[in-house]
Amino acid sequence: MLKIPDKNRPEWKKMISGEIAHNYKNYVLQMQTTQMRRYIKNKKLTYDEAVNKLYILSYKYSRAVKSDLEQIFKIW
């Protein structure tokens, strides 16, 4: 796996809240980000829980999402 930005970076939460309106190129992360937003809206998850799920999946697919993360996080 490639190294990805630390989970404590504020960008992760902003991706879920929509403050950073990034459209992933990778399908699973498109779907998961969308679902995390629904969970937050419907109060089924906290932001910390949603960030954790997004982070785990981004780590698994670190190669596929590398260019997406570079656009969002710039450096890490």
Partner: protein, 323 residues
């Protein structure tokens, strides 16, 4: 990639060799296959590298034997389909086939976004069907080995080696029309009599008629993924049915009318060397006249595509990355 369209005799040989297979083809052929490590679904619309086929002579057979380190087969009904994601191996693939119009498919379609462990592993699959002119008259089927089901989903859970990660990607030829208003619905499901536009309620059938909507596909934006809902217009009952459920949390627009140049679009967006397994929608087969188009790939055209959830009018493919 290896040939994937096989005769019944060739498929029997693969089964008898103990291969782990996913098979699509006509019910006539599937019903004669022997016991073995396979799941299958009825579907006579297949894809060869030279073009689409409507065939009673060939089966589309994907062999996962060389890829997996372990596997297991499961059957699910509407009461336990939610376990499909928690039954998966830690680093794996979940492959499933579900009969069109079945209760298990409906349960899956509405609830799969919230299944526990959803998205941790690629959940791929397709909806089995029949000859198009027999749809609704003949029951689609699924098979776990040579055991037939018309009301259950079948699944093959695959465990991958630690150095391989599988992911699903989609290709959608449709995009939202700029002239479409934003449509919402008040409930999740396969049928809504009414829709909402700008906060105002309309009868959805009448709205489509009054606006002269030609392309009966709704499109939603899932963080950059364009997700379709195929619409079926019933002119007798004056109702609209959805080929996949709409969700009240989403905004939809009607799709832009598409020209029929699917081959150019496909070739620009797909790297065939990456694809390990793929399937597309029967709507694409008919609308884009894919019997005449050589896309250079084996596959099938289904009555619904599964890529974590039920999709419509979409090409879905599996990619493997070495880490």
């Amino acid at each position: 990639m290896g040939k994937k369209l096989h005769t019944k005799k060739e498929t029997e040989k693969l089964i008898k060799e103990g291969k782990t297979l996913i098979i699509a083809g006509s019910e006539k052929l599937l019903s004669k296959l022997p016991e073995g490590n396979w799941i299958g679904g009825s579907n006579p619309y297949l894809q060869s590298p030279c073009g689409g086929l409507h065939t009673e002579e060939l089966l589309y057979v994907k062999d996962f034997s060389d890829l997996l380190i372990d596997s297991k087969f499961k059957v699910y009904d509407k009461n336990n389909i939610h376990q499909i994601t928690t039954d998966a191996f830690e680093n794996g693939i979940i492959a499933t086939i579900m009969p069109a119009n079945s209760e298990v498919l409906k349960e899956f379609a509405i609830n799969s976004p919230e299944f526990e462990n959803q998205f941790l592993n690629p959940l791929l699959g397709w909806v089995s069907g029949t000859d198009f002119d027999k749809f609704g008259q003949v029951a689609p089927t699924c098979y776990k080995s040579n055991e037939k089901f018309i009301d259950k989903a079948v699944a093959l859970h695959i465990q991958l080696p630690k150095n391989i990660v599988a992911r699903l990607e989609i290709l959608n030829a449709y995009e939202a029309s700029n002239s479409s208003e934003v449509i919402t619905f008040e409930k999740d499901g396969f049928h809504n009599t009414d829709c909402f536009v700008g906060g105002k309620k309309y009868n959805f059938y009448k709205y489509i008629e009054d606006k002269n909507i030609e392309t009966l596909i709704l499109v939603a934006n899932y963080s950059g993924a364009t997700i379709n809902i195929g619409l079926i217009k019933n002119e007798v009952s004056k109702n609209i049915f959805f080929a996949a459920p709409v969700f009240k949390d989403f905004e939809y627009k009607f799709a832009k009318k598409r020209t029929k140049d699917y081959k150019d679009f496909f070739n620009k967006n797909i790297d065939l060397s990456n694809i390990r397994y793929s399937y597309s929608c029967l709507y694409n087969f008919f609308y884009f006249e894919l019997e005449k188009e050589a896309l250079g790939i084996d596959g099938l055209f289904s009555y619904g595509e599964i890529a974590y959830q039920l999709l419509n009018v979409t090409f879905v493919y599996l990619v493997l990355d070495e880490i």
